[in-house]
Symmetry: C2
Subunit: 261 residues, 2 copies
């Protein structure tokens, strides 16, 4: 699966401080450690507390690229911040994220094409995020249609059905597994299926256990990408083991040592 | 889910020794610890190295019952050993196991009814265990039919599709998840779905990780029973968490402390 490393995010105080002081050391340390842990993309989010987010994103991309060749995920709700990140990225990046409504797709899909980027699209529109299975799958199908129309291959499209915290609605994880199963059949080849995993355990006391348990269940249902804490070793081991059990990584006695690509 | 505690088995040398010497201490210690760990049934298997298996099973049932009130699972391939165990058991037990072929079902289903017991039936017949999904589901359907015909309720029937070691055939775990999903639709209410979990990791170096990863994926696919190592805390936590995520146990901050029934 594709592990999008979540830790370089301005909502963490050490990252926020580093961004404000333009201190590359903590950022580059996190970038290197996450790359070594097996990140497929390093997510960069300047947070909301920084004054000039466009300039901050540009700086973040530059210092991260000095530390690692791992592709970047440009994470912002602001179009101009995303553009600045894509502009500064030397290798094809991932856009995290756009909403699944036509007016947003009209902007972000061409943007992804222009920068040879991949794109995470959330199953949400003007009315918000559907709470049920059908509503999410319907928006997912609309996203895939819009992407195909513009010529964005499914391999560069990541559908994210938006995972809620378990303490908000306990029916949601089961619904999500069914959503994953159904999204796989929207197109052939299917788009990637992504979640922001840590959302699930927001405010709970067993975060790592909740995250890794759901991740393995989700991989069995077709999930193949997650924004997640790649520095959580138990989480990464669970993911590798789940993929091995689904016959997506070859079993050997040392299957945990497989180099992640 | 129902956790059938596997540790009182003559294949373990300390248990074998205790059975031969008729020393109740190690047995009763294991019985208590497994009951405290949340076992729904305590499996009793005298192993194959003991001389008088019938007498050994009777003794095993008696000493275990002195230590715990947790129901017992009488585990033997020999009919007379199973009968001795059922005879000695004070509370309704589980028979582990019979094959899914008509001539065996004709004996074991009435036996379960006679002793008010539950029954694990393996999806295997004279030709062996089908390696594919359809073959297993077909035998499962035959088992359910035979049980219903005799008047054994689905709640007392455990279908076991027989889990192979991962290092034997890596396609099997994925097949098994599909088998679980399909067995759920054979009857309404469905039978229990069981596996001998530790089989999966036989001969591997990451037994606990492999076991708990598969168990969570299996719970998401409908598995609700396993013969397993209830003394493996990580495994039990994973099972509890998976059930909570599937909305089968209520979430609270201390969901791991939920008393298992």
């Amino acid at each position: 699966m594709l592990a999008i490393a979540e830790r370089i995010n301005g909502m963490f105080s050490n990252v926020k401080k580093a961004i404000i002081k333009r201190d590359p050391v903590p950022i580059q340390d996190l970038a290197r450690r996450q790359a070594e842990a097996g990140a497929s993309f390093i997510d960069l989010n300047v947070g909301t507390a920084v004054a000039d987010q466009v300039e901050a994103m540009r700086w973040l991309v530059e210092v991260t690229q000095e530390a690692t060749k791992t592709p970047l995920s440009i994470d912002s709700q602001k179009l101009e911040v995303v553009k600045a990140g894509l502009e500064a990225a030397k290798t094809p990046a991932l856009i995290n994220s756009c909403k699944g409504q036509p007016e947003d797709l009209e902007i972000y899909v061409p943007l992804a094409l222009k920068y040879n980027a991949s794109l995470i699209c959330l199953t949400m529109d003007k009315r918000g995020i559907p709470q049920d299975i059908d509503g999410r799958v319907e928006i997912a199908a609309n996203i895939v249609s819009a992407a195909v129309e513009h010529g964005l291959e499914p391999s560069r499209l990541f559908i994210d059905p938006v995972l809620f915290p378990i303490n908000v609605d306990q029916k949601q994880p089961g619904y999500m597994l069914e959503v994953f199963r159904q999204i796989r059949y929207i197109s052939d080849p299917p788009p990637h299926i992504n979640v922001g995993l840590s959302n699930l355990s927001q405010g709970t006391k067993e975060r790592s256990l909740v995250n890794r348990t759901f991740l393995t269940m989700a991989i069995a249902a077709g999930l193949d990408s997650a924004v997640m804490d790649v520095l959580d070793k138990d989480l990464m081991y669970a993911a590798i083991c789940a993929e091995m059990l689904m016959n997506k990584q070859i079993y050997s006695d040392s299957f945990l040592k497989v180099v992640r690509s």
